[in-house]
Symmetry: C2
Subunit: 430 residues, 2 copies
């Protein structure tokens, strides 16, 4: 690789502009660590004049990122637009085809088109790096590809969405509702002001799970949509009850090999307050990995925001500048295996069930009878009357049962007029 | 790099023999991930016929590791003898001079001769890799050199000695004495049967601190012996009292820049039972790193034993096989800075002080008066009488004071006949 490296940054949102500032501030350190000098020769964004946190040289601004390739000689391109398709995909494709290394934090793009783009990078003998796409500043992808490379990984899971974790933590801390805390998160920049849906419905965490699975198990990125639930239906009441039970609600992303089949899921879990994962709070992310022979490894750090994201983007840059041409997914794309999916019906958990019921004789016994009919046995039951409104809250912690069984059992309750809303289900993480 | 790679393993203790077995078992996976085939062509140990956990091919055995170089063409050598000098140093030197890549878990060697050996490796354009020398299976060195490469690191600290952490945890769990738990640790293979001293007096953790400092701050490895204390003087009584105070004793290694000066230390700390670090128990290690812009990053995993160590040794192997020629300390040896040391006298902590005294009037006031004279103010005081023996235990938690002040103050107590043993001091970690 030559000594002087030309860089383009496409997308100047929160992350792009922070990255640009870091690239300008850390030239000397980058030269010290790699022997290369970098120059940003092109930037691109929708709006040239939008108010941004840091200034940039308007002379190298391009409105259409696809025109950069004609006007400038680029060696490395950062894609920070963030779409799963459209212009994001087009820019990355064009760069790779032009033998330009690409670095991106775009989990939507990688989880959808990662295999295709990896092949394109390999064919053109350039790097496609995406450390920042999973768990912000935590070097988890590099750790799987390199630091733990020869371990047989069986499971990788954790808290992968900082926005959701922040909201759950703050609901507990402030004793406040989901919608109020969401507003606060949006004001602080933790949740998208316009559309926080992808954070809250589990989609964002699921994209990260897909990328982690592929790296951990050397498999093609799965397209199979297994069990995906976000935190959008968690009520303050559930957090309060969990608290009384010494539990805490966490949104976990889980990827696991069960009988050599891939099981990927994202859903809220009740975890012990005493557990490690139960104490990863606020915008922190944590990834736990079970490997042989290394045992259990834990990596924790800030999972979102331009600082941690830039830390990972620059680590990708250094890797390229040091001349490490690597397979994007650790092994050649052609060697990635296709893998069968574990049937979610067989997924087994203890359940937290909350029923809001009319306070009438026989309601409780109807519930317990139905659970018994489906062989769901009860570990703990708490009934709290609300005399004033002639209602009661029944919380049941069950012994372990399959997903199929609980779905079938709970569907029946929906028809019962004495049960005032759909029973709330949160799985316990063992 | 050519396709077929010859490997030598020198040292067939617990780690060497496990590594050898892993190398034999993971050939296919290594080929998948690197495109290279490996062959172990030489092994060496003191005793050919010692009983070992795994078998090896005696035909490639060499009694004197220095003769390997004459008889076999070696590309990569693993040094797993573990001495800071002598044959360990000689073998590594000889290998590097012969343009053979070296991988070692030997923290004693690297913390003492790392800069010299790194220069030797750089001059000969080969790798010297030592991921396994710090925190076992945790890919902490690689994370600092690569995953977090452009962060400005201010502090790195953690639990770096699995043996000490195991002993402290078990003293609490089993309510048993230091010496009994040490025997158990030795029986389980966590502590050296012969000489566990280097684990228990803090030396092992200090060697790791030195390596971490160098990587985190891009400085030459320090030779300065700052404050080093192990766990050998921790008594069950201190653990019990800590427990009552909702604290836990942990041996921490700390490396920090204070006013641009390097402060390195290893000593037992009292940490909150609710803190993250207070819940890293047993043989687990944890490293916490404070960097900008990444924020606080935590890496946790098994810190000792042949499994985790082999995981790191093989990650080094893959790095070399993938053709990543890298500076052993992240930047060229000539670019590593020398750095001044922070004066330990200015180190500030709250203190736990335990006095065993004669139960006589005036003893307590003498202690508190002396503390007052040194302007050490008291935050909490617990006096527990032992009427039967006419003794009392006085535990004092102080507000923050300097190391110099506490040393001067405590030295006086040693002369007091009413104070029955040297006051016990454990620093509180803020």
């Amino acid at each position: 690789m030559k000594k002087n490296i030309n860089i383009a940054v496409v997308g100047l949102g929160q992350i792009g502009i922070y990255l640009l500032n870091e690239l300008n501030n850390k030239k000397k350190e980058i030269e010290l660590k790699t022997g290369k000098t970098i120059t940003v020769v092109a930037v691109s964004a929708k709006n040239r004049n939008k108010k941004r946190k840091f200034k940039f040289d308007k002379k190298i601004f391009f409105e259409n990122p696809l025109t950069i390739f004609k006007h400038q000689k680029i060696d490395i391109l950062f894609e920070a637009i963030g779409l799963s398709d459209g212009i994001s995909k087009k820019v990355v494709e064009t760069a790779l085809k032009n033998k330009i290394h690409v670095i991106t934090p775009n989990k939507a793009l990688i989880s959808k088109h990662g295999n295709y783009l990896a092949k394109l990078a390999e064919d053109n003998k350039v790097n496609l790096e995406f450390e920042a796409s999973v768990a912000g500043g935590i070097p988890i992808l590099r750790s799987i590809k390199e630091g733990l490379a020869t371990n047989k990984i069986n499971k990788v899971y954790g808290i992968l969405n900082g926005t959701s974790n922040y909201i759950l933590s703050e609901m507990e801390n402030l004793n406040d509702s989901f919608s109020n805390v969401l507003k606060k998160a949006q004001a602080l920049g933790y949740a998208e002001p316009g559309n926080p849906k992808l954070d809250l419905n589990g989609f964002d965490a699921f994209a990260k799970v897909r990328i982690l699975s592929s790296l951990a198990f050397n498999t093609k990125i799965s397209k199979y949509k297994c069990l995906m639930e976000g935190i959008e239906n968690i009520e303050l009441k559930d957090i309060e009850i969990a608290n009384q039970l010494n539990l805490r609600v966490k949104l976990l992303g889980i990827s696991e090999l069960i009988n050599n089949k891939l099981f990927e899921t994202v859903h809220p879990c009740l975890v012990s307050k005493k557990s490690y994962i139960g104490n990863v709070n606020g915008v922190m992310n944590a990834v736990i990995l079970e490997g042989k022979p290394v045992g259990e490894s834990v990596l924790q750090g800030e999972g979102a925001g331009p600082g941690p994201t830039s830390s990972s983007l620059l680590s990708d840059l250094l890797s390229i500048l040091r001349g490490n041409i690597k397979k994007p997914f650790g092994v050649a794309n052609s060697k990635l295996k296709k893998i069968k999916h574990y049937n979610v019906n067989n997924y087994v958990n203890s359940l937290y069930l909350r029923f809001e019921v009319k306070d009438k004789p026989g309601v409780l016994s109807k519930i317990t009878n139905r659970l018994a009919k489906f062989r769901i046995s009860i570990k703990q039951l708490i009934q709290t009357p609300d005399k004033k409104n002639n209602k009661a809250t029944i919380v049941i912690i069950t012994h372990k049962t399959t997903e199929q069984n609980s779905t079938n059992c709970l569907s029946i309750f929906k028809k019962d007029k004495n049960i005032l809303q759909s029973p709330k289900l949160i799985r316990l993480y063992n």
